[in-house]
């Protein structure tokens, strides 16, 4: 099980702030997780569209698409940051 979190516009588009998710065996990277989530429905597909600039974090550290996702991880997706 991973702990999925979504922020800002991605949270609004998917209607999901956080959820626990069982990882299927074939999902091993951040990119694969993103595709799995996109296959849910049109809202998820749009929110996590590869055309959009989206950042991913694993265990609260910025991550790359090819980074491994493991059971127990906290995985977050969010748009580019706009603080300050």
């Amino acid at each position: 099980m991973i702990h999925l979190k979504l922020f800002a516009s991605l949270r609004e588009l998917t209607g999901t702030e956080e959820e626990g998710l069982e990882l299927p065996g074939h999902v091993e990277t951040l990119a694969q997780l993103r595709e799995l989530l996109r296959s849910r429905d049109s809202r998820w597909s749009e929110a996590l569209d590869p055309q959009r600039a989206i950042r991913g974090a694993i265990n609260q550290r910025m991550a790359q698409e090819s980074d491994p996702v493991r059971d127990g991880d906290e995985v977050a997706f969010f748009p580019p940051v706009t603080g300050g």
Partner: protein, 162 residues
């Protein structure tokens, strides 16, 4: 790191309530026991405030969201990097979240050092990296409705000078 930084006082504060730049400036220049840190010869601060106009539209409110935990740790990491690059005595960041109005203070960065180059550069460095790396998101309320503020390419480019 030749200059030990005072870790007793929280270096990074994320809060909904307003802060007083005068109080923060004084605290930044003092040691834990409330005396002036007389090693300090340069104090640089930056204050970011809410503008009443963005992309040509009047801004009524600005609402800030963050990623609790990751936001704090990412800013601490930026401060650690600044401490490695410049000889600093103190480096602190305060960032507000929640709903803000035009003229409200959003962010405060304060840095002390013996000399101005280190203080000024470290302050700019921390702010540049905070803009592009710390997970905060702004939503603004304009006459047409609410909208998320888009990230600016120039903020990412600003990192290249470091």
């Amino acid at each position: 790191m030749s200059n030990p930084v005072n870790h007793q006082i929280e270096r990074v504060r994320i809060q909904t309530q307003a802060f007083d730049v005068g109080v923060e400036l004084r605290a930044l220049r003092q040691t834990e026991d409330g005396r002036w840190d007389t090693r300090v010869g340069a104090v640089a601060t930056f204050v970011g405030t809410v503008r009443d106009l963005n992309e040509g539209d009047a801004v009524r409110t600005l609402t800030l969201e963050h990623y609790p935990g990751m936001t704090e740790s990412s800013i601490k990491e930026i401060i650690d990097q600044a401490n490695q690059r410049w000889p600093l005595f103190q480096a602190r960041v305060i960032h507000r979240i929640g709903e803000l109005q035009p003229a409200d203070e959003i962010v405060w960065v304060g840095v002390t050092s013996a000399h101005r180059e280190a203080a000024l550069e470290a302050c700019a460095f921390i702010m540049d990296f905070l803009k592009s790396k710390a997970p905060f998101w702004k939503k603004e309320s304009v006459p047409q409705g609410d909208r998320w503020v888009a990230a600016r390419e120039k903020d990412e480019k600003a990192l290249k000078r470091w």
